[in-house]
């Protein structure tokens, strides 16, 4: 055990007191499980209203400012948040890489968020370091949304996934969900399993090479602990006919320590029309995007391919989230 240089204590309540409030207004979103199922349902219902009548929401955030603090590049998540705020009539400030901000001068997250909170009403943070948005939330007087912290959490992607499934399958219960590709490093998969595991009668089929199977803690603390039915297989062809949802993931180069392993595994799990022939007519294919080659372009024309709609649902759910956290409806 290493000793810490600063004062040791086992009772420091304040640091652990996050969440638990009764309303979404003023809350942070750091982890998908920060919100109860009822609160998630509230967000999805509001997203439904936005989808049905976007025009009536186009000025809801007039006079409000969203700050996007992106410490690493991200096109679609940042654009999705910015588009969400602009479609609500609000405005956006921020940086898309730390080199163009005071962070390059060595400013701490605590100081950055406290300064930003003077200018903006709500902040979105992406940071390659795990837990960075939690620190921001501890010092912020405005809601902080985690837009991805390393390999740890990406809760709004999970909200986008859930809204897509709920909208297309009309339920978040009684589903067999296939997760395919990099299940070891893919944070979206971990969050999705945790999130769907909270709903009734869902089963999981985990398709990956042995090297990229879900980590122990997902097996032990989510699947086994929750007594969720699941199986681990290596070949997609063997199980695709059982699935209601097929969630494909990219084998991410940046998650590998070794380029040789990446090259060996990246093409292992490619979805094409041949495999789709064996899938149910009502199965849907999802993907957090960007894809590399794990879904062949020929699949894009299949009516079961929902990954681009998923991106749109992502924007709608972010609109709903911003409204809820700001307390504007």
């Amino acid at each position: 055990m290493d000793e810490c240089p600063s004062s040791a204590s086992v009772v420091d309540e304040g640091i652990f007191l996050l969440g638990g409030e009764m309303t979404l207004k003023g809350r942070h979103l750091l982890d998908p499980s920060d919100f109860s199922l009822e609160e998630l349902s509230e967000i999805f219902e509001l997203a439904d209203s936005i989808i049905n009548d976007p025009a009536s929401f186009s000025e809801k955030c007039k006079g409000k400012i969203l700050a996007t603090l992106f410490y690493e590049p991200s096109t679609r998540t940042r654009f999705s948040f910015e588009a969400a705020m602009l479609r609500l009539g609000g405005q956006v400030i921020g940086f898309s890489e730390p080199s163009s901000s005071s962070v390059a001068k060595g400013e701490s997250i605590a100081d950055t968020i406290r300064t930003i909170a003077c200018y903006a009403d709500i902040a979105v943070m992406r940071n390659p370091k795990e837990g960075a948005p939690r620190i921001a939330s501890m010092y912020a007087s405005i809601p902080v949304i985690n837009a991805g912290d390393g390999g740890h959490q990406h809760p709004t992607q999970t909200l986008a996934d859930l809204l897509t499934i709920r909208s297309v399958k009309h339920s978040l219960d009684n589903l067999t969900i296939g997760c395919c590709g990099d299940l070891k490093f893919g944070r979206t998969i971990h969050s999705l399993i945790k999130a769907l595991g909270r709903y009734k009668n869902n089963a999981f089929v985990l398709v990956s090479p042995k090297e990229l199977q879900v980590p122990e803690y997902i097996l032990n603390e989510v699947l086994n602990k929750g007594q969720l039915p699941f199986k681990q297989v290596e070949k997609l062809e063997e199980v695709i006919s059982e699935l209601d949802i097929l969630y494909m993931t990219r084998v991410q180069k940046e998650r590998f320590f070794n380029e040789e392993d990446y090259i060996r595994l990246k093409d292992s799990y490619i979805l094409d029309n041949e495999k789709m022939k064996h899938a149910r007519p009502d199965m849907i294919v999802l993907h957090p995007l960007p894809r590399v080659n794990e879904i062949a372009y020929e699949v894009d024309d299949d009516p079961r391919a929902f990954y681009f709609q998923q991106a749109k649902f992502g924007m709608f759910v972010r609109m709903a989230l911003i409204l809820k956290l700001l307390g504007v409806e």
Binding site: C4, F16, A110
Partner: protein, 132 residues
């Protein structure tokens, strides 16, 4: 008297409780033969001091603390793992934000009591305390 310390761990606890700076009588006895443990370390403190039992529990939940008055054990305390710990253990995950933002407290919560596992409040990295 802090008893049943795993052999070799006594020096760590000695430092952790700042006993090296004590102005009262303190003894660290190492490698004491033990029926139960083979060998163990013992710390004897001739004073009433505020011991952070949770910290001791985190270091080694097998430790017992005996309060001795007039050469008789008046109280025997078994230790438990605390629910939360701040600035006692550090996160080993190189991707954790605590590796960069040095002003931040290292905070862990007890995630699995039977396995003695803690998780970092920020990145959820597991820290396993030795099994009881």
């Amino acid at each position: 008297m802090i008893d049943h310390i795993k052999a070799g761990m006594g020096i760590k606890i000695f430092h952790n409780l700042n006993l090296d700076r004590a102005d009262y009588k303190v003894a660290l006895i190492m490698n004491v033969p033990s029926q139960k443990m083979g060998k163990k370390d013992i710390i004897k403190i001739e004073n009433e001091i505020d011991i952070d039992y949770a910290v001791l529990g985190l270091i080694d939940p097998n430790i017992t603390v005996n309060i001795i008055e007039e050469e008789k054990i008046t109280e025997k305390r078994n230790l438990q793992l605390p629910d939360r710990v701040v600035n006692i253990i550090t996160c080993k995950n190189p991707r954790c934000i605590t590796s960069v933002e040095k002003y931040v407290d290292h905070a862990f919560y007890l995630s699995n009591i039977s396995k003695g596992e803690y998780r970092c409040l920020y990145c959820d990295e597991v820290y396993a305390v030795q099994e009881k």
